[in-house]
């Protein structure tokens, strides 16, 4: 649905040149929710903005639904943008217009007939639970409601793609959850392809099918969210996940024995594998840290345990046989 080929973007300033995007290749499938994470300044916003060419790349191509966005002339670009919705961290609603006028805005820009606009706006407001706010102004709404208006506006022209630049970063956790549920629902019901830029790992964990990690304008890691989050390969990914997980440092554990990271996925996450195998092999275990959760709906868990007594090697082999990914960790001498 969206393909970036060798996309590069440089900024030059008096302080020197800066490569915001460095030869980025990315393929985002139709109907996918795709996350892009990275630290501040990694180039996330620049990346998402090349997709509707708010930012024109210096090199490379961006193809959306088979159309080369980078090659379009001015008029073609305006048309293409109508098929790509976008929502923003600070909503960017027009304060001078009512909610219904905000939602009608893109349709009006497109020059649709008045009757059609009225009908479409009513439909969108109802669909997003905003009907009672139609005549209000943005300042009368809460952050979550404003983002709903932003979403309604982005959907008005019936786009196939929705770009979200830190769409939940200005919202509290509960409202974030609400907006994420909404995006998830739109993805399922409309088959909408969604690209989400965020620095909130939790957001990715919750809704993204796949994720790319950006560092200094380069994609350093990409894959299915569960794969990347359970086995992060790049130090940046590991660090960002560790921060999200309040960063347990294995080296600090005040216990001897064999340390191991156990990764459970799918339905077996909820099975009592660990205690059963411990009982059978006579090992004891203590859990140093862990998390059982869902990544994009898939149950998964990761435990850091230390085995004492009995034969840890046998226990780990048994766990592996039973579909638990086991990674033995050598405790570093300090």
């Amino acid at each position: 649905m969206i393909r970036l080929e060798g996309v590069t973007r440089r900024y030059s300033s008096r302080a020197g040149d800066r490569v915001a995007l460095d030869n980025v290749d990315l393929e985002i499938g139709r109907g996918e929710i795709f996350g892009v994470v990275g630290r501040s300044g990694a180039g996330k916003s620049t990346l998402i903005r090349t997709i509707n060419r708010l930012e024109t790349p210096d090199g490379g191509r961006v193809i959306v639904d088979g159309e080369d966005i980078t090659a379009l002339d001015a008029k073609g670009l305006l048309k293409a943008r109508r098929r790509i919705g976008m929502i923003f961290q600070h909503f960017n609603l027009l304060n001078s217009k009512t909610i219904e006028a905000n939602v009608a805005f893109p349709l009006m820009l497109e020059g649709r007939p008045k009757a059609e606009i009225t009908a479409r706006v009513a439909e969108l407001l109802a669909q997003l639970g905003l009907a009672e706010h139609a005549k209000k102004y943005p300042r009368q709404l809460s952050g979550g409601q404003k983002q709903r208006v932003g979403i309604a506006r982005a959907l008005a022209c019936g786009p196939q793609v929705l770009l979200c630049d830190e769409a939940t970063s200005a919202l509290d956790p509960e409202t974030t959850e609400d907006i994420l549920n909404l995006l998830d629902q739109l993805n399922r019901e409309l088959g909408l392809t969604i690209v989400m830029i965020t620095h909130q790992m939790e957001v990715v964990r919750r809704v993204c099918d796949r994720v790319a990690v950006l560092k200094d304008g380069k994609v350093v890691e990409t894959g299915r969210t569960a794969d990347v989050f359970l086995n992060p390969a790049h130090p940046v990914t590991q660090a960002m996940l560790a921060e999200d997980d309040d960063g347990f440092d294995a080296a600090m554990a005040p216990v001897g024995g064999q340390m191991a990271r156990l990764t459970f996925r799918g339905a077996s996450t909820y099975e009592p594998e660990l205690s059963r195998i411990a009982r059978e092999t006579g090992v004891d275990y203590s859990i140093l840290s862990g998390r059982i959760s869902r990544i994009r709906g898939e149950p998964c868990g990761q435990l850091l345990v230390v085995f004492t007594g009995g034969d840890a090697t046998v226990a780990m082999a048994r766990l592996t046989e039973n579909g638990v990914a086991v990674e033995a960790i050598q405790k570093e001498a300090r």
């Binding site: 923003f88 909503f91 001078s96 770009l163």
Partner: protein, 218 residues
Amino acid sequence: MFDNVNWLEVGKAGIDTLLMLAGSLTLTVAIGIPLGVLLFLSGKGKLAANPVVNAVLSFVVNVLRSLPFIILLIVMLPLTMLLVGTSLGVLGAIPPLVVGTAPFYARLVENALREVDHGVVEATQAMGGSTFQIVMRALLPEALPGIIAGATVSAIALVGYTAMAGVVGAGGLGDLAVRFGYQRFQTDVMFVTVVLLLVLVQILQMLGDWLVARVSHR
């Protein structure tokens, strides 16, 4: 009390002042808004960034703004003759009033446009809005409170300028104040004109504030 005051004269002068104000304010707004939009759009990093256009416009605006109005009145005489055929009366006053105020107002409009959150421009672009649509449908409506507030400030400046224009034969309340109040020491005439000008300024300010409040939804 008010022995020297010829109320008919005062009434005529008042109407002249209002006519000068209405005419010059209309033209100031008509010229100042497009000029302010151009100043804004041609600015660095803006929608139609153009350093040359911006520098030229900026220079002209600054020159006109730095000229004291009384000098502008005199310098403008030949041009005024050319434009409206007379340098006297209400008609003769309007060109210098507009030239003196429109650049000032254009700056106020430019500032009002700068106050608009860039995110709104970006969102409109993302929705496929053309530059023209961004200006007409997003920027100007969003900046409307500032644009009206600027028009109020300009209108009040214009009231002061009309009094000065009175000195070179434009008529109006300022002319009355100078000719009778000042030159003939008729304090009562001075008093009446000053009070009327004061009332006019108050009304303009209140009207402006009321309009701004009506269109503000921030």
